[in-house]
């Protein structure tokens, strides 16, 4: 398999041929390799969520670009149910995908739909809840509506994990999670990616999160792909990020501000930890 997801020249208009028509994507491209963590960044309204919806067939290309997911051309007549078992999508608002009365049943929904026997379903529910740091003893029997915002997000992620997708897509990966929860989800995604070869694609508004987590990033701006490449490369181009109305990631912005005050770092740091190391090296001279 060459790429988990390959999108070229994609264009999309919502409510086309109506007075409410709204163009969301003009010329978007995206490449996600199986062994990579890929982030989509861009300001609100850039088309990030729309693009994600093409990746598991919620939206279909109509002769306006190519969408290939797991080596299937999505403009052709593909088995969408099978595709969605392999491509898990966690939505921006977790309460849009929680619908069972109890947390355990909600997480079990996907595996049950796959026709797994109850023992296997139970095993997956336990695993998935533990993976998102919701203790199954405490949470499996909790009413879904009694969860806090951050707990709902974890439950939504668990429900998608339980289907064991080979491509995992997350819209706003850790919004609303506390710092520990964020770190747990980051560790989980890294583990799925590195040990199990799950391709991970996520949207994030937090550039520091992208710096810490992603190998590659795609910068989407007003429906156009402005840049795609290694995060380190993309984040060293502060003028490009500013042009896309994103501001600077902490470490890159810090290095630029220090430079202006006559303190030069040898390499542009990507994270706070790298900034500390670079500063220490510069201090020692």
């Amino acid at each position: 398999m060459t790429a988990a997801i390959a999108i070229e020249g994609l264009r999309h208009v919502y409510l086309e041929d109506t007075p409410q028509a709204q163009q969301a994507l003009y010329n978007a491209s995206l490449h996600v390799a199986p062994a990579e963590m890929t982030a989509i960044i861009g300001p609100t309204g850039a088309g990030k969520s729309t693009l994600l919806h093409f990746c598991n067939g919620l939206l279909r290309p109509h002769e306006r670009g190519r969408v290939r997911v797991l080596d299937q051309d999505l403009s052709t007549d593909v088995d969408l149910a099978a595709l969605r078992r392999n491509v898990g999508l966690v939505f921006q608002y977790p309460h849009h995908q929680l619908f069972e009365r109890f947390v355990g049943d909600d997480v079990a929904y996907g595996p049950r739909q796959m026709g797994l026997d109850e023992d296997e379903v139970e095993e997956r529910v336990q695993w998935a809840l533990q993976a998102v740091a919701l203790d199954p003893e405490v949470f499996a029997d909790r009413p879904t509506l009694s969860l806090s915002g951050g707990e709902m997000r974890r439950a939504a992620i668990a429900g998608v994990l339980a289907t064991r997708p080979s491509v995992l897509i997350l819209d706003e990966v850790t919004t609303g999670l506390d710092p520990e929860g964020r770190e747990q989800i980051h560790a989980l995604l890294r583990q799925l990616n590195e040990r199990e070869g799950t391709a991970v694609l996520f949207v994030s508004n937090d550039l520091d999160e992208v710096a810490a987590l992603a190998d590659k990033a795609m910068l989407l701006y007003r429906g156009y792909t402005l840049a795609e490449g290694p995060v380190r490369e993309l984040f060293s181009d502060l003028p490009l990020l500013a042009r896309a109305e994103l501001g600077a990631p902490f470490a890159g912005g810090l290095a630029a501000a220090l430079q202006a005050r006559g303190i030069a770092l040898e390499h542009t740091p990507l994270t706070a930890a790298e900034a500390e190391e670079e500063l220490w090296q510069a201090w020692k001279g």
Partner: protein, 281 residues
């Protein structure tokens, strides 16, 4: 002067059910008029529950909450309290009901029977303060994320509140909208409005004058962000990160580079490092 007082505030969800969930276990908290208070804590620590108690959306299971001296448990005070303390949620789409920005802002005070000349004045002022004065006829659904949060804030301002409670309002915003919304809240605070700002972003906490951290439904910290982020053990206990600037500073101090202050944001860190470099040469 105290605007909001919580006395031994307890809140338990589902008292009649098999699994009642205790969200707040006795909070004593006084918020003075004009303060900017950040509220932080783990998921499920009680932040949103506390926020909803501050304007009577939730009433205490025991203990009491007084807003400008009025008890939130008493029905006759409810309207006064709701217009004294306004709430802005994470997803402002959920609170828009009208088809233009101006109508949306006028909706609340009109329903409260505010007389027309004063209504117009309040709406104009709210639009001006939030930078929406040029967009009165725009459909709220067509605003950017930052624009929507400004509209939600404007709609609350038109009720002439003395306090705004913003519950993770910036969570889904891009960096620009996030900075814009925080700057607006700070400006409103400078003009005398009390702000309660619930967040998971430590760089926003660093901008507040006072931080209240909840820990399993109890008060885990109440003080300045500076003293909080200086105490790494306490931050760990409360499940809080350090703002990245403080993280870098602590790391450098541990290695032996002494800084004159603990910086909480990038600008402070740059200043403090520049002084350290100057002192050496």
């Amino acid at each position: 002067m105290a605007l909001i007082v919580c006395e031994q505030l307890h809140l338990t969800y589902g008292l009649e059910s098999d699994v009642p969930i205790e969200a707040l276990h006795g909070i004593d908290l006084t918020i003075d008029e004009g303060e900017f208070v950040a509220v932080v804590g783990r998921n499920g620590s009680g932040k949103s529950t506390l926020a909803r108690c501050l304007n009577g959306l939730l009433r205490p299971t025991s203990g009491r909450v007084l807003v400008n001296g009025l008890d939130t448990a008493l029905r006759q005070h409810r309207l006064t309290i709701r217009s004294t303390v306004g709430m802005v949620f994470q997803n402002p789409d959920n609170q828009f009901v009208m088809s233009t920005v101006r109508e949306e802002v006028a909706f609340g005070p009109e329903n409260l029977g505010v007389p027309r000349p004063e209504l117009i004045e309040r709406v104009d002022r709210a639009l001006r303060l939030t930078g929406l004065a040029d967009l009165p006829d725009v459909d709220p659904q067509h605003l950017s994320a930052g624009g929507k949060s400004r509209l939600a804030i404007a709609a609350m301002l038109a009720l002439a509140p003395r306090c705004l409670v913003l519950d993770e309002t910036t969570a889904l915003m891009d960096p620009l909208a996030r900075r814009e919304t925080l700057a607006l809240a700070q400006e409103l605070c400078r003009q005398g409005l009390t702000i309660v700002w619930v967040t998971h972003h430590m760089d926003e906490v660093a901008e507040a004058a006072r931080v209240v951290a909840l820990d399993h439904g109890l008060l885990g910290y109440d003080g300045t962000p500076h003293a909080l982020f200086a105490d790494r053990a306490l931050c760990a206990k409360l499940g809080l990160d350090l703002p990245p600037a403080a993280q870098v500073a602590h790391g450098l101090i541990d290695r032996g580079l002494s800084l004159d202050t603990l910086p909480l944001n990038a600008a402070e860190l740059v200043d403090s490092l520049a002084r350290a470099w100057e002192g050496r040469s």
